[in-house]
Amino acid sequence: MPFRQPHLLGIEPLHPQEIATLLDLADTYAERNRKGLPGGDALQGLTQVNMFFEPSTRTQSSFELAGRKLGADVMNMGVAASSVKKGETLIDTALTLNAMRPDLLVVRHPQSGAVDLLSQKVQNCAVLNAGDGRHEHPTQALLDALTIRRAKGRLHRLSIAICGDIAHSRVARSNILLLHKMENRIRLVAPPTLMPPGIDAFGCEVFHDMEEGLKGVDVVMMLRLQKERMDGGFVPSEREYFHRYGLDAEKLAHAAPDAIVMHPGPMNRGVEIDGTLADDINRSVIQTQVEMGVAVRMAAMDLLAQNLRAARGRAALGEA
């Protein structure tokens, strides 16, 4: 099934077959990247604008690298520093962008739904959500899926534990949606204060105890706990959190013997994950996740560019 979306705003609107199509293409890009082959010219002649309304190093550089590998002209707009501080609204920004005629627009924004809003206001351009508030972070979920598929040989009928600050995590939401679409069993492990309300309706198993939650799972996905949420607000302290919910060898022993450990980064070593474990190449696939990030973003932009070019072709025919 072809990938039909004009934008990549979230996992929610995607069909499982579209996800598979995207991952297949990402797989070939991953192989090419590994062999040191050039990425190709899928984005030749197209302009990619990265707008990060929230600071990011990893995601932004990953998108930038992916665009360059496919021949796009990449521009980073430093929005956090400039016009937004002068009171420009998101809609003004969209109008400014329309005048610049970008082809691909990569957006991260601290508020849920902001990327959707922007996508409604920009014209003739494919929008990629690089994370909006607590809502979605689709390329992260896709790169996680690709990492799992490569490590486990499949992306269905796996038992996957997502652990940590689920309430505030867009990564968790996108992963839950994606892994559900691909028919996996999902276990959520977190203290109740970091569990979103109404989570029982998501069809996940909910645990408040790590050892129970990790029992027999194939994949352990850790989430980052932000510093400002640690001091008495949501959990009593850093050390109590690490003691009860931090991943170490002892807790991991409850998972399947070949279970892999994932983390979207950046890690707080000694808070949600033990440093030694994170570096253990037999268990941790954290470096692979970063590598797959570039491949997945290449695939996403390639497919969206194909759809964009096709739409423009149809529009040109309609005009003629």
Partner: protein
């Protein structure tokens, strides 16, 4: 001048009846209520054939924000008055959450003067309960009452300091003043823009448990029991809060409650893909809560149905959901939207007009809301079945932020009278 409106179906919320009849309007009051038109029609200066449509006491919309003073670009007394007339609302009871807040007799007099000059319908102002609505010191309740304030409220701001609220309630009681509060726990609801549940979690929006409303209501009711003040909760919208309200009423406290039409006809799923016109205070609830609130209105546990008319300009709504302004305009949609409950078989017409006209009038000590001889001739004539698709750009309100844009509604206002004078459709001299 004497006017006869005949061939109508009269809705009498007081008697709970809906029957064919005619009304005689003279000197601003209902001179007569008749079962049928009299023989000699030529003794009336004006004879209006209602063509079998419904005639009811005009709506009293309690909790309308007119953005004067401060934000006249959002709504003025002129536009709010026209919107009210178009919606069959004959009295608007305004909120004091303007800039500056209506917290001194001087500002109140300004508002009253502006309203009397510009509005075709009656305007009764509420005043702030605390200075600047800041929850620290009570306003001059006595002076404000003398200047015409019908009730005292800090609108959607909760007075966090219970001692301040307790003293204001105690003082208000000595003047028989009515205090209206927004029932919500300030801590739990801080930063929340949705009701917690599956949908809010899926959309990644900060949300508040419906229990926060019960907490707020229970706190305020405890203070009412302590002070014996006259009290009205602006909006009770959750199933969890209703037993607390019922209990207070059973114990004989002088307590009433309202609900907005939005909370009776929409739920949190309507927010869809971050549609900011559905961002309200309190946030839209889940379907079970909506059902419970409809039930409570039908049983009379919730007394008043209102629009919580809150004009917002396009700019303040065209933002990401969390950053967007809250509130919806409602004067023109209050009647057609609440008729959904009648068409859906949940309420009878007399029940509906009890909540829209009679109860708010009674609670505020107004003579309106009735179809009785001698009552003010404030009337709405409407076509119960006329269907239409709402186009927000055709509305009279200066702000067009309605959640019912593009909605299919049934029931159109054909005429509105205030004190016997026709204010809708607009006569040329208004």
């Amino acid at each position: 001048m004497t006017t006869l409106i005949h061939n109508a179906v009269l809705i009498d919320p007081e008697a709970g009846t809906e029957s064919p009849g005619a009304l005689v309007l003279r000197d601003g009051v209902l001179a007569d209520v008749l079962p049928a038109a009299p023989e000699a029609l030529d003794r009336f200066a004006e004879v209006i054939d209602a063509q079998g449509r419904h005639l009811a006491p005009g709506l009293v919309d309690w909790g309308v924000k007119v953005s004067e003073p401060g934000e006249r670009h959002k709504e003025s007394f002129r536009t709010a008055g026209l919107a009210a007339a178009a919606g069959g609302v004959t009295t608007i009871v305004t909120r004091p959450d303007t800039h500056p807040a209506i917290d001194t007799p001087e500002i109140l007099e300004f508002v009253a003067r502006r309203a009397s000059q510009d509005s075709p319908v009656r305007v009764l102002p509420m005043a702030a309960l605390t200075k600047g609505r800041e929850g620290r010191e009570m306003t001059e309740i006595g002076f404000l009452q003398d200047a015409g304030a019908v009730a005292f409220t800090d609108a959607d701001r909760v007075t966090e300091d219970t001692r301040v609220l307790a003293r204001a309630l105690t003082y208000a009681r000595s003047l028989q003043a009515l205090v209206v509060t927004h029932v919500q726990d300030p801590g739990l609801s801080r930063g929340a823009v949705m009701t917690s549940g599956k949908f809010a979690s899926l959309r990644g929006l900060p949300a508040v448990s419906p229990m926060a409303e019960r907490l707020g209501l229970q706190r305020d009711l405890s203070l009412v029991e302590m002070t014996c003040a006259r009290f009205h909760a602006d909006q009770v919208t959750t199933a969890a809060a209703l037993p607390a309200l019922a209990q207070a009423k059973d114990r004989g406290l002088d307590v009433t409650a309202g609900v907005s039409v939005h909370h009776l006809t929409l739920n949190d799923f309507d927010v869809g893909d971050y549609r900011t016109f559905f961002k309200l205070v309190p946030p839209l609830r889940q379907e079970e809560d909506r059902e419970a609130a409809v039930e409570a209105l039908a049983s009379g546990l919730i007394d008043v149905l209102c629009s919580q008319h809150t004009p917002q300009d396009e700019e303040s709504k065209r933002l990401p959901f969390e950053a967007a302004a809250a509130g919806a305009v409602g004067l023109e949609t209050l009647l057609p939207a609440s008729l959904r409950l009648v068409h859906g078989g949940r309420l009878s017409l007399p029940q509906l007009f009890r909540a829209l006209s009679l109860n708010p009038s009674r609670r505020l000590g107004l003579p309106t809301g009735r179809l009785a001889k001698g009552a003010p001739a404030d009337l709405v004539l409407f076509d119960l079945h006329a269907p239409f698709v709402l186009d927000r750009w055709t509305m009279q309100s200066k702000s067009k932020n309605t959640p019912f844009d593009g909605a299919r509604l049934q029931g159109r206002v054909r005429g509105t009278w205030v004190a016997g004078r026709r204010v809708w459709p607009l006569p040329k001299d208004l």
